[in-house]
């Protein structure tokens, strides 16, 4: 059995670990709150823009604007995977990576040439380790993504889609259902599925012409979609981290309880033994 000194040392170590995980939990909680606020803040713009694009869209425009083209067959597709830069968030990153892998495999099985674009150190590290070909990556997007980050991610993709180099773009990110439910999901960014919502703008005075406006709005619509995925992902990461750190803190507490009990038992046994020895010694003197 471990000596009471060893047990004491372990208690100290577990207590320190618990201090760290609890702090990480608290930090994740406050970052989660901010991330949720950012998600909420992004919604009015995204909703208004979606409504506009939905209202302006017509199949007739699809022939005129390369961003609206609908390739008859998909030969070359891009998958954009959004992961976190940091770990300690449970299965958050591995769920995303698994989703991306199954999407890549499904596309390749369909005879599509797929390229992979990765954001976040975790996804990058995984696919590098596997020796997969990574078309582009960034690790610059932190806890509070900006609309410009989204633009930098997606602009090269939509340009190449417009020239016909790519036939489809998919985004793998986590859907923020709640702080404890952030399942991974793949969304098709391009070809653009016209939004079903939106009020027709036939009665509007438009300047410049409707088509011109649609042409200008589409890149913003794509950026908005990716920005939304980024902020959702950031919120999901913090939610997952909070849950992981909470269970780590709880586990540390359980271990501490067991260790403390062992330590006390060992100490009590030692005291009992000492008393028995003293009593035995005194009895021998009589």
């Amino acid at each position: 059995m471990a000596s009471s000194q060893d047990v004491l040392r372990r208690i100290k170590s577990v207590r320190n670990t618990r201090k760290i995980t609890r702090t990480m939990e608290l930090i994740a909680t406050s970052k989660l709150k901010r991330a949720i606020d950012r998600m909420a803040a992004a919604r009015p713009y995204a909703d208004a823009l979606t409504g506009l694009v939905g209202g302006l869209y017509s199949p007739f425009l699809a022939q005129e604007y390369p961003l609206l083209r609908r390739p008859a067959e998909t030969k070359r597709a891009a998958v954009l995977l959004l992961t976190a830069n940091r770990g300690f968030c449970g299965a958050f990153n591995s769920n995303l990576i698994r989703e991306a892998r199954s999407r890549l495999e499904a596309l390749e099985a369909g005879g599509v040439e797929v390229e992979l674009h990765v954001s976040g150190k975790k996804g990058l590290a995984y696919f590098r380790f596997r020796g997969a070909k990574i078309a582009s990556f960034t690790t610059e997007i932190g806890d509070s993504p900006e609309p410009d980050d989204a633009e930098q991610l997606v602009a090269p993709l939509w340009r190449r889609f417009a020239t016909g180099e790519l036939d489809a773009v998919h985004v793998v990110s986590s859907e923020f259902r709640s702080a404890i439910s952030t399942p991974p999901r793949t969304r098709q960014l391009l070809p653009i599925e016209p939004p079903a919502v939106g009020t027709p703008v036939d009665a509007f005075i438009t300047s410049p012409a409707t088509g011109e406006i649609v042409g200008r709005l589409l890149p913003r619509y794509l950026r908005s979609a990716v920005y939304r995925a980024l902020v959702e992902n950031a919120a999901g990461e913090q939610g997952a981290r909070r849950a992981a750190m909470k269970s780590a803190t709880d586990n540390a507490g359980d271990i501490l309880e067991t260790l403390t009990r062992n330590y006390n038992r060992a100490r009590q046994a030692q005291i009992t033994q000492e008393i028995a020895e003293i009593v035995g010694g005194a009895a021998a003197l009589e």
Binding site: R38, I205, E212
Partner: protein, 87 residues
């Protein structure tokens, strides 16, 4: 008599910049400045770069620098979707 007011929302991808009522506003459209008063016909325009000035319902003047985006006017509801807003 209570004059009609514009319901104005100035939004950017990152959040709301201004939500409130306005007596009048002047926006930088792509081809020049456009004044909007209550009762304006349905109108949709691209935005350029410049100051967006408005008079709130209490008569205060507010001004933002906006660049890029789109503005929709419909039944006294004005939605400005700007790429960037300063001030």
């Amino acid at each position: 008599m209570m004059a009609k007011l514009l319901k104005l929302r100035v939004l950017t991808p990152a959040g709301e910049v201004f939500v409130g009522r306005a007596r009048s506003m002047v926006a930088p459209a792509w081809d020049g400045r456009v004044g909007i008063l209550p009762g304006h016909a349905p109108f949709l325009t691209l935005l350029g770069e410049g100051p967006l000035a408005l008079k709130t319902d209490s008569g205060d003047a507010r001004e933002f620098g906006v660049s890029g985006g789109v503005m929709k006017v419909e039944a006294n509801d004005v939605t400005v979707l700007a790429d960037r807003v300063a001030g």
